[in-house]
């Protein structure tokens, strides 16, 4: 006679750790691939029309509605999963093993890809500034600026590779804090339980969102940006804390539907703030609070949904997650190179969007298949 087992709160939490790793791996891949969609969509965003070099003549408010919601959840989710896998690596290989992995998988790709990505982006943009007949306001600005006899150089910026730079920074911080014995503090936080977290997390993020523009920009400076540390750091820490005990989240399951709806409602309020345009450098307390709530709860909602529905291994998802890193590294120059010429075409914008996304994704996957998957590059970005 087997003893009665305690009722499992939900199917996916009852599954073995391997299955959960699948779910997280898939989530990370989707978060990175969502980046391609997001960056492609920015060309048709009214909110970003005057800041984005590849901004098209046409735009639609619906793009804003979808893109910026994605934006608030995508990178927090990415850092949460990164934290989880960092803790797992730390447990298996120790601090020196982690350092070696970070050097090989993040530092080397960052140092190598950065000048290449930066150079090709600059090249595409310079070409576009000279050649495009219907330039975006930003492109026009760049054209004027390039026309100066001696254009001042700008400080180097990490561009869309900022996430690699921040992963390195967080790894260094993790080493320093652990060495100083602060690992136990995270443990004590986790012991307070998930409901506590659901309230504390948005409050932690709030000042970070206030200290930057809305929608928040990418922290591309080479100096660590305080707001980005404050916004993404807690997610990385939460991922660290969740390692080995995803079931800790189980009590939040019953809030899944109401939480998701609440996020959408809050987002509607936030979008109302944006009707007056994006803000730069500072955000008022109210929209910042909304952003904090959506980022915190939205990320948890997506995490829980992913754990429930993405837990099964699938060949397609597996291939996507293997190629996600490479795809994300190279997609932006490809996208810009495709979208600049598209600016002059008279196609309706959804067609341009679809074409840009399809072509970029195809090129990324093709290059992954040919250049990375079966070559030594696989050790670094595979």
């Amino acid at each position: 006679m087997t003893p009665p087992r305690p009722a499992a709160p939900a199917a996916s939490f009852d599954a073995g750790p391997a299955v959960r790793i699948h779910a997280l791996d898939h989530l990370r891949a989707l978060a990175m691939l969502a980046g391609v969609l997001f960056h492609a969509a920015l060309a048709y965003s009214p909110l970003l029309g005057s800041y984005w070099p590849a901004a098209d003549r046409e735009n639609w408010w619906g793009v804003d509605a979808l893109a910026w919601l994605l934006h608030l959840v995508r990178m927090p989710l990415f850092f949460l999963v990164a934290g989880y896998f960092t803790a797992s690596l730390l447990e298996r290989r120790g601090m020196s093993g982690l350092a070696r992995q970070r050097a090989r998988r993040i530092l080397v790709p960052f140092v190598v890809a950065w000048p290449l990505v930066d150079g090709s982006l600059a090249l595409a943009t310079e070409w576009a500034a000279a050649a495009v007949a219907h330039p975006s306001p930003m492109l026009r600005l760049i054209r004027d600026w390039l026309a100066q006899p001696d254009p001042p150089s700008l400080p180097p910026r990490t561009g869309h590779l900022w996430f690699l730079y921040y992963l390195l920074l967080f790894s260094v911080l993790l080493w320093a804090l652990r060495t100083l014995g602060w690992g136990a503090r995270l443990e004590r936080w986790m012991e307070k339980g998930p409901q506590h977290l659901a309230w504390a997390l948005p409050l932690l993020l709030w000042p970070g969102f206030m200290a930057t523009g809305s929608p928040h920009p990418a922290p591309e400076s080479l100096l660590p940006e305080a707001w980005a540390l404050a916004v993404f750091g807690p997610f990385f820490a939460l991922g660290l804390g969740l390692h080995g005990r995803l079931e800790w989240l189980a009590p939040l399951q019953r809030w899944l539907a109401p939480g998701g709806l609440l996020c959408l409602g809050l987002y509607a309020l936030l979008a109302d703030h944006w009707t007056t345009g994006a803000t730069v450098a500072r955000t008022a307390w109210a929209p910042a609070l909304l952003e904090a709530l959506i980022a915190a709860w939205g990320t948890l909602v997506v995490l829980l949904v992913g754990l429930r529905f993405l837990a099964q291994p699938s060949p397609v998802l597996r291939y996507l997650s293997a190629s996600a890193y490479w795809t994300y590294l190279v997609h932006l120059p490809l996208l810009f190179a495709l979208q600049y010429p598209l600016m002059d075409l008279a196609w309706p914008w959804p067609l341009k969007f679809a074409a840009a996304v399809a072509a970029t994704t195809t090129l990324c996957l093709l290059s992954f298949e040919l250049l990375v998957r079966r070559t030594p590059l696989q050790r670094f970005v595979g």
Binding site: A176, L177, L180, S221, A226
Partner: protein, 227 residues
């Protein structure tokens, strides 16, 4: 060629010193991180505070690295334990010199490069590069002298004096180069103009630093035994 050095043990001794210094280093890394973040706020007050904090962290880390690896080891009599391991005085000197240069050199190089990048890529006048190099040159000199004294002199008082004295001299040094018109003039310009006094001072700093370290290595290396 390994010049008769016991390389594996030297490596272990460096790793050992690094492990002993790890906790302090973590604190300095955190402080340095905070200073960089201050710089990242892109406000004038934060910029001054951040760069000041960076210099303080660099100097403190340098001094405490020397103290932990040499002075504390002597004071707490753990030196006897190290000397009982299969190392010659030359191995020991090499481990201490290399280990210290590493703990100091890495953050020093990162800060120096960072400073140069900030000056060259921002609207700050590029002429400041010379001032920055002279400043870092002084820190390097002070560090090398402190390290040489710590390796040669057992007295704790003299060591403290060498460390604090050489680092504090940075103020009179700054005032002194402020008096030299040939150096002071081009600082606000956008060209990096080397004047003879500036070049001489920097060359002097580098030479004395190298001489202090090389002299220490030579002196310690020719000793047959520790006592």
């Amino acid at each position: 060629m390994n010049f008769g050095l016991n390389v594996p043990v030297i490596r272990l001794l460096i790793v050992k010193d690094w492990q002993l210094f790890q906790k302090q280093l973590a604190a300095y890394v955190l402080a340095g991180f905070a200073a960089l973040t201050l710089l990242g706020l892109a406000k004038p007050w934060a910029f001054y505070l951040g760069s000041l904090a960076l210099i303080v962290v660099l100097v403190a880390a340098a001094c405490f690295a020397i103290a932990t690896s040499l002075l504390v080891e002597r004071k707490e009599q753990t030196l006897a334990f190290v000397m009982s391991l299969p190392v010659s005085p030359l191995d020991f000197t090499a481990a201490k010199l290399l280990g210290n240069l590493l703990t100091f050199g890495v953050p020093f190089a990162v800060l120096l490069l960072g400073t140069l990048v900030v000056i060259l890529t921002t609207p700050l006048p590029d002429g400041l590069v010379i001032l920055a190099l002279l400043l870092f040159g002084h820190v390097l000199l002070a560090y090398s002298v402190s390290l040489a004294v710590a390796m040669q002199v057992e007295s704790e008082g003299w060591n403290t004096f060498a460390m604090i004295g050489s680092m504090v001299l940075i103020n009179p040094f700054l005032m002194a180069i402020g008096q030299i018109e040939a150096i002071q003039g081009p600082l606000r310009g956008d060209a990096i103009a080397w004047s003879l006094p500036a070049a001489l001072i920097l060359a002097g700093q580098l030479l004395v630093s190298a001489a202090a370290l090389a002299g220490t290595a030579w002196w310690q290396g020719r000793k047959a035994a520790f006592y």
